[in-house]
Amino acid sequence: MYSEIVMNHFKNPRNVGKIEDADGVGEVGNPVCGDMMTITIKVKNDRIDDIKFQTFGCGAAIAVSSMVTEMAKGKTLEEAMNITSTSVADKLEGLPKNKLHCSNLGADALHQAIMDYYARTEGRVQPKKRKREKVEHIGRREGQCYCPYCDLELPEEVPTCTLCGKPTVHRHE
């Protein structure tokens, strides 16, 4: 089902854990879809000096988290902002179609951690916010997010969107 490199990262995940005095924290996903990811970063001279992740999710989600931390480590913040879910999936030599979106939250978590770092160090010059990749899989149906890949219509009592973790009644670009 998965490529060798996905299985390698799943079985021996890199950079597992949580940096206690992190400079930035990114948290995405929710357990409804079965995937949640937390990324913590340490920044030194505008570079990602250290990065760790924790993930609740399937094999793909764990491999994605591991890969994204490996890709980001040592990069400048600007370079790290250019890591996308597509580039992570490519590095993993592809993911099954139904995992391409829902389980591929690593880049989002990384970007959130970086934005969190910028927010904390406000006043500094921030690079232009990267334009969000087009999220074709999220549509709107009767005011709720849904994802045709996981065929998940979120019932009302579920308060958050599977993609961004925000309340469900909103539109993705």
Binding site: V16, K18, E27, M36, T38, Q54, F56, G57, C58
Partner: protein
């Protein structure tokens, strides 16, 4: 690497005697049972022999058994067949919240055609309350469909009590017995059912063949139209090799049932006892009123597919109902119905035992499961949050 197969609910190896009977038929038989010559007569004899075995397994009369292509077809036949045949009488159907997708999707389709569906809830063990079924009945109710044993959590429903209710009111009662027939005793008279679905692959028979029991005088339309096979109830040339296999499997299941159940229960008990060593898990389903061959366990703070992958690495094969491993990533409706939250439902595993399994295998599976859960919990942010309070 030692192979430990604990996914018998998905597929099971053929019983050696079933395989032998099928090969024997492949080598020597080929006739069409509806032909009017001697070769056809020989095939007809084989067909009726198999039918008699399937009938005996569920305590039915031979002429009330229709061969189908498996559980899904049997269920579709029963649901749609009764709904269409009794349309003049009413348009209301009652079911439960934990039925198999075959039932649920039939009903979704029937709803689009104007039928009304009431789905009764289940308790924390997955049990339907017959009183709920009784309350849901209206003058328009034509069909009740409740499963015998649930395929995900193993709970056995109080079918006989529901059968009494439907009989009193003259409502057709279909029971999905795919997970139970051939595993535990099934008696169509005791259960009071009018239709009952069976699949051969649940009791060491081949996949692609099943049966639908239709009580005499039950109004039901055919699902497949065409030739006059199966007394005009199911058209299509018979899958003779499959039917031979199903007949043999039914015979063996009936003869060996009590010793099979004893063996499976012993494995199940040992497994459930061993699960006590893992924190924060739930064993789903009723503690006693459940299938002997299946244990459903929800492991908090981890996702099911990742456990399946780690066990796979160690040669242990199980399945998940997090559905993450299958096409849909939706959490199981059965687990949500018995009150599991989304995250816990995603961390659910199904261990289903078979006659090839041993106690040593069960112990090894427990050991590897314990280790895998620990590994994944160490990565999980949910587990970290819990530990930090």
């Amino acid at each position: 690497m030692e192979t430990i197969y604990l996914d018998h609910i998905s597929a099971a190896p053929l019983h050696p005697e079933v395989k032998r009977a099928m090969i024997e038929y492949l080598n020597n038989g080929f006739g069409n049972p509806v032909s009017q010559h001697r070769i056809g007569d020989v095939a007809m004899e084989v067909l009726e022999g198999s039918r008699a075995e399937v009938a005996k397994l569920i305590n039915a009369d031979s002429k009330e058994v229709v061969f189908t292509s498996g559980g899904t077809e049997s269920i579709n036949h029963a649901m749609k067949g009764v709904a269409f045949a009794r349309r003049e009488k009413g348009n209301h159907i009652i079911t439960s919240n934990i039925e198999h997708n075959s039932v649920l999707k039939c009903l979704r389709m029937l709803e689009r055609l104007g039928y009304r569906v009431t789905s009764v809830p289940v308790d924390e063990y997955g049990l339907v309350d017959p009183a709920d079924v009784k309350r849901a009945i209206t003058d328009d109710t034509i069909l009740v469909s409740i499963m015998h044993a649930n395929n995900e959590i193993g709970t056995i429903e109080p079918v006989a009590e529901i059968g009494k209710v439907t009989r009193e009111r003259g409502i057709s009662f279909h029971c999905d017995a795919v997970a139970s027939a051939g595993v535990i005793p099934v008696d169509v008279d005791e259960m009071g059912v009018d239709l009952l679905s069976v699949a051969a692959n649940q009791f060491y028979g081949p996949s692609g063949v099943g049966a639908l029991y239709i009580r005499e005088k039950t109004q039901v339309w055919p699902l497949l139209d065409g030739g006059l096979q199966e007394d005009n109830r199911r058209a299509g040339t018979h899958n003779m090799v499959g039917i031979v296999g199903m007949g043999k499997a039914a015979q063996l299941a009936r003869q060996e049932m009590s010793q099979r159940m004893e063996h499976l229960l012993q494995l199940k008990r040992a497994f459930v006892d061993g699960l006590g060593a893992i924190d924060d898990i739930f064993i789903n389903g009723h503690p006693t009123q459940s299938l002997p061959n299946l244990v459903s366990v929800s492991v908090s703070y981890v996702e099911g597919e990742s456990i399946v992958l780690l066990l796979d690495e160690e040669g242990i094969y199980i399945s998940t109902r997090s559905a993450c491993a299958s096409g849909s990533l939706r959490a199981s409706h059965v687990l949500l119905s018995i009150g599991r939250d989304y995250a816990t439902a995603q961390g659910t595993l199904v261990f289903s035992f078979g006659m090839i399994n041993t106690l040593q295998e069960v112990n090894r599976a427990l050991e590897v499961l314990n280790k895998s859960v620990e590994t994944l919990r160490n990565i999980s942010p949910l587990y970290k949050k819990k530990k930090e309070g």
